[in-house]
Amino acid sequence: MDKQARSADPLRPADHVDGVAAATPVEGVTSPALGFVGWMRWGWRQLTSMRTALVLLLLLAIAAIPGSLVPQRTADPNGVVEYLRNYPELGGFLEKIGMFDVYSSPWFSAIYILLFVSLIGCVLPRTKHHWQALRSRPPRTPARLSRLADFRERDWVLGGAEGGGDAGTGTAGAEGDAVAAASRAIDLAQSQLRASGYRVERYDARGSFSVSAERGYLRETGNLVFHGALVGVLVAVGISGGFSYTGQRVVIEGTSFTNTLLDYSSFNPGRFVDTDNLPLYSLTLDEFEVEYEVENENAIGQAGSFVAHVSTQHPGEEPKKDSVRVNVPLSIDGNKIYLLGNGYAPTITVRDADGNVVFHDDVAFLPQDNNMTSLGIVKVPDGLATQIGLVGFFYPTAAELDSGALTSSFPALVSPRLTLDVYEGDLGIDDGVPRSVYALDTSDMTKLTGRTTDVASLQIDPGQTVDLPNGLGTVTFESQTPDAPNPLKSVKRFASLQVHHDDSATWVLVFALLSLAGLLTALFVPRRRMWVKATPDATGTGVHLEYAALARGDDPTLAAAVEAVERTHIESLGLEPREPRESKTP
C-alpha cells in the first residue's frame, strides 16, 4: 500500500491487528539509550496501545465485582454496619482496603482514570488523523487487482450491437475505439459509485483506466464519537457529584415541608451546592393512597398503586395540586421528588396527672413487615414527674396469636390497635448529642410495662385513652374520625420522600445516547474500497473489465457489494448479465 493509501486509513494503535508492523516502536532491547523524552514517548505509546486498553478494561470488570459481593456504603449503608458487626475481623480488613466503598476506592479509581487517559491519548491523534483523512483522496488503484480476495473480471467484446458501436469503423481505428470505450466505461463506473455514496478518484494511466472509490468514513467517525462520548459520560458524572443534592424527609398527612436545609431529616449536598439558596417551595401531603390486593389469592395484601397527593406552593402563589407516584416523580424547580416509602403515623397525646397536655403529635411508625406491623417511639422529656419514653407497636389489623401476642394480619386499617411499653428515667437527650427520633436509648431507663415487668403493655384503639403506670398521667390514641368512627380513616399516614437535584443526568443521557449512536455506526457501517478498472486490449476488439474491493475491518457484505457494483455497471454498458461462474473456471 502506498503512503497516500495508508494515510486515508484510520490511525490505529501500533498493536492493532490492522496496524503496520514496521510502525511498532523499537523497544528497550535494541535501543539502550532512550533518554528521558524517549522513555516518556515509549511509556505513552504503551499506555495508548490496544493491549493496555484491553488489560485495563478487563481489570475494570474484575475490580467492579467485589462491590456486588460486599455491601456498599452508598447503596446499602445498613448492610455495611451489619457486616461489620457480624464479621468484625474480616470486616475491619475489608474496610481498610476500601471494600465497602469500592467505586470510590483508590484502586478502582486508578483503573478507570488510567483507562480514560489511555482513551483520550488514543482518540485525540486518531481524531486529528481522521479529520485529514476525510479530505484526502481515495488511494491509487493497486497494480494487480486480481490479488485481492474479492475480485471479479470479465471481457467486453466490442462491435456489433454492443457498446463500442458508435465509434468509427475500420481496423485502423479499432484500438482507439477500445480506448474510448474503456474510458467511457470508467466514467460510468465513477458516476455510479459516486451515486451510491463512495468518494471517487480517477487514476488513468497509459494502457488502462480506473476509478478508485472509498466509502464508510463514518465507521471511524462513529468509533471516535463512541469513545469521545464515553469521556463525556464520565465528565458529566464527575461534575454532577459537585452540583447535585439529595435530601430525605418524612411528611405526614396534613403537614408540609419547605425546601430548605433545616427542613430535611437528611441532606447530602455536592461540593458546589449553595445550600442557603435552594429553590424555595413548600409541599403539603394532602393524602396518601394505597391499594391492597384482596382478590388474587396468591397475593393477598400486596400493596400497590401508591400515590401521594400533594399541594406544592411557591411563596406568594396559590398552592397547586399534584402527586408523587412510584416511577413517576414530581418535578419542581429543577428538583425531582420521589416516593421512597410510606407508613402509619398515629396521633398520640400525653397528659400529666392534672390533664395538661405535655405531648401531642403525629408519630411516624416504621413498617416492620408486609402487613405493616409498625414500630414507633415517643419521647416526653418535659412536663411529667420524670422523663418517659414510649416504645410502640402499631397493628393496622390487629389479630391475636395463639401465644396471646398481637400481630397484624392485613396492611390496611381494619382493626387498628396501638401497644405501648413505657420507660422512665433519663432519655439522654439533654447532653446535646443528636439522637434518632426512631430509636430509644434505654440504658438509663426503667421499663414500667410490657414483657419482663408485671404490668401488661398499654393497648389502645383509636379514640381511647389509657392511664400511664405509677399515676404519671394518661395517653390518648387520637382518632382522625372522632365523630363517625371509621377505622379505614382513623389513622394518618406518612410518605417518605426523597428530593433530588441533578442537572447532569440529562447530560449523562445525551452522551450515553451519542455513544450508542457512535457504536452502531462504528460496528455496522461497512468501510471499504472499491476499484473498477478497464484495460483496452492490444487488438482493439475488446476491453478487459476488473472489479475488486477491500474491506477495512470486519465486513461480511463485501463480496455481495462487489458483485452488485459489477452487475449495475455491466447492465448499464449494455452487456448481458452472465451466468454464474462463466468467465472463471476453477
Partner: protein, 374 residues
C-alpha cells in the same frame, strides 16, 4: 374455578410440552453430530494443505452462486484459512444444489450420501425446534394474558422469555446461515433453562409490584433478553471455535494422533476463522443491545429510585458484562489476542450473563426492600 383449567395452567402445560420437544430436538441434533463424525471418519485430515488455493476456488464458485435469489443456505468449506477470516457467505450456494456444488469444489470431502444423511437428523432437529418454539411462544403468550401484563416480570418469566428469544434468534439466523451444528447447544440450553426454571422458579401470577409498573419493564427487560440470545449464539460459536482451532493445530502436526471419535464432527464444520468471525458478528449485535439495555436501565432507575446509577448488585453485573464484551471487541482488534484468547473472553462474557440472570432473582427481592413500599 374449581374444575376448569386456568389460563396459567394451560401455559404451564404448553411450556412443559415445549421442554419435551426441545429435549427431542436435542437428541436429533446430537444424532446429527454423530452422523457428522461418521461422515468424517474416512476423510483425510489434510485440509490445511493447499487451503489457500482452494479458498480461491471457493470464492470463485461463490461469486457466481451468490446471484441466485430465494432462500440461501450456506455450506461451509472445511478449508483452514491461515489468513484472516473468510466470511461464510462467500461460499453461499443456492439451496441444496448450491450446497452440493460447494461440496464438490472442496474436493469431495463429503460425498453426497453422507451429506444427505447428515441433513436428515439436523432437519428433524430443526423441525422439532420450530414446533417446540411454537408451543413455547403460545405458553409465553398465555402466561402474559393470564397475568394481564408482559410475561417477563419474575424469575420464572425471565427464563421463559429469555429462552424464547434464544430459540427465536437461532431459528431466524438459520434462514441465512446454516448453524444447525449449534442445535445441540441451543436445544440443550432451552431444556436446562426452561425446564429448570419451570421446576425451581415457578410462581403463580401475582400483580406487579409498583416499581415494576413501568414502560421500561417492557423495553429494558425485553432488550436484555434479546441481547442474551445473541450472546448465547456467540458463546456457542466461540466454544466451537476453540475446539476447531485445537483440531486445526493438531492436524498440522506431522505425527498427529487421530482425534477422539466424538470430536470428528468438527471436520465437517467451518474453520476456526469462520466460526470466529460469525461469533464476533453475533457478539457485536448483542453488545449493541446490551448498551441499550444499560442506558434504558439507567433511565428507569432515575424514575424509580431517583438516581440513574447506584452500583447496586444488578447494575454492577450489567456493567461488568458490558465491559467484558467491550474487552472482547478490543481483543479481536488487538494483535496477539485475536483467535483463542478473544474466544475465551466471549465465553467468560456469557458466563457472566448467565450469572447475572440468576442474580436477577435476588435483585427483584432487593427491589422490594429498596422501594420499602410493600
Amino acid at each position: 374455578m374449581p374444575n376448569a383449567l386456568s389460563l396459567d395452567d394451560v401455559s404451564v402445560l404448553l411450556i412443559w410440552t415445549a421442554v419435551v420437544l426441545y429435549a427431542l430436538a436435542f437428541i436429533a441434533y446430537a444424532l446429527d453430530l454423530g452422523a457428522r463424525s461418521a461422515a468424517a471418519v474416512d476423510t483425510k485430515d489434510a485440509a490445511a494443505r493447499g487451503a489457500t488455493s482452494r479458498k480461491r476456488e471457493l470464492v470463485g464458485a461463490a461469486a457466481g452462486a451468490g446471484t441466485a435469489t430465494g432462500s440461501v443456505s450456506i455450506e461451509f468449506g472445511d478449508a483452514v484459512t491461515p489468513t484472516t477470516a473468510a466470511p461464510p457467505n462467500r461460499t453461499a450456494g443456492t439451496g441444496r444444489a448450491g450446497a452440493g456444488r460447494a461440496g464438490s469444489v472442496e474436493g469431495g470431502a463429503k460425498d453426497g450420501a453422507s451429506t444427505t444423511k447428515r441433513f436428515v437428523m439436523a432437519r428433524i432437529g430443526t423441525s422439532l425446534m420450530v414446533l417446540a418454539f411454537v408451543m413455547h411462544l403460545a405458553g409465553t403468550i398465555t402466561r402474559g394474558i393470564a397475568a394481564g401484563r408482559v410475561p417477563w416480570s419474575n424469575m420464572y418469566e425471565f427464563a421463559m422469555t429469555g429462552t424464547l428469544m434464544i430459540v427465536l434468534v437461532y431459528l431466524v439466523v438459520l434462514i441465512r446461515y446454516d448453524l444447525r451444528f449449534l442445535g445441540t447447544l441451543i436445544s440443550g440450553l432451552a431444556v436446562v433453562l426452561l425446564g429448570g426454571s419451570a421446576v425451581t422458579f415457578y410462581v403463580q401470577v401475582v400483580p406487579l409490584a409498583d416499581p415494576l409498573r413501568s414502560v421500561w419493564l417492557v423495553i429494558h427487560v425485553f432488550v436484555a433478553s434479546l441481547s442474551t440470545a445473541f450472546f448465547a449464539l456467540a458463546f456457542g460459536l466461540s466454544v466451537l471455535q476453540l475446539m476447531q482451532s485445537r483440531r486445526e493445530r493438531l492436524a498440522l502436526l506431522p505425527d498427529s494422533k487421530p482425534l477422539a471419535r466424538g470430536l470428528r464432527f468438527l471436520r465437517t464444520l467451518p474453520g476456526a476463522d469462520v466460526l470466529e468471525s460469525l461469533a464476533y458478528r453475533f457478539a457485536i449485535i448483542g453488545f449493541a443491545f446490551w448498551t441499550f439495555t444499560l442506558i434504558a436501565g439507567s433511565i428507569w432507575a432515575q424514575d424509580a429510585w431517583g438516581r440513574y446509577w447506584g452500583f447496586d448488585t444488578k447494575e454492577v453485573w450489567t456493567f461488568v458484562i458490558w465491559v467484558l464484551y467491550a474487552g472482547y471487541i478490543h481483543a479481536r482488534a488487538t494483535r496477539g489476542w485475536r483467535g483463542n484468547r478473544s474466544a475465551w473472553l466471549s465465553i467468560i462474557g456469557f458466563t457472566a450473563v448467565l450469572f447475572n440472570f440468576t442474580i436477577v432473582n435476588m435483585f427483584f427481592k432487593g427491589l422490594h426492600a429498596y422501594s420499602g413500599l410493600t
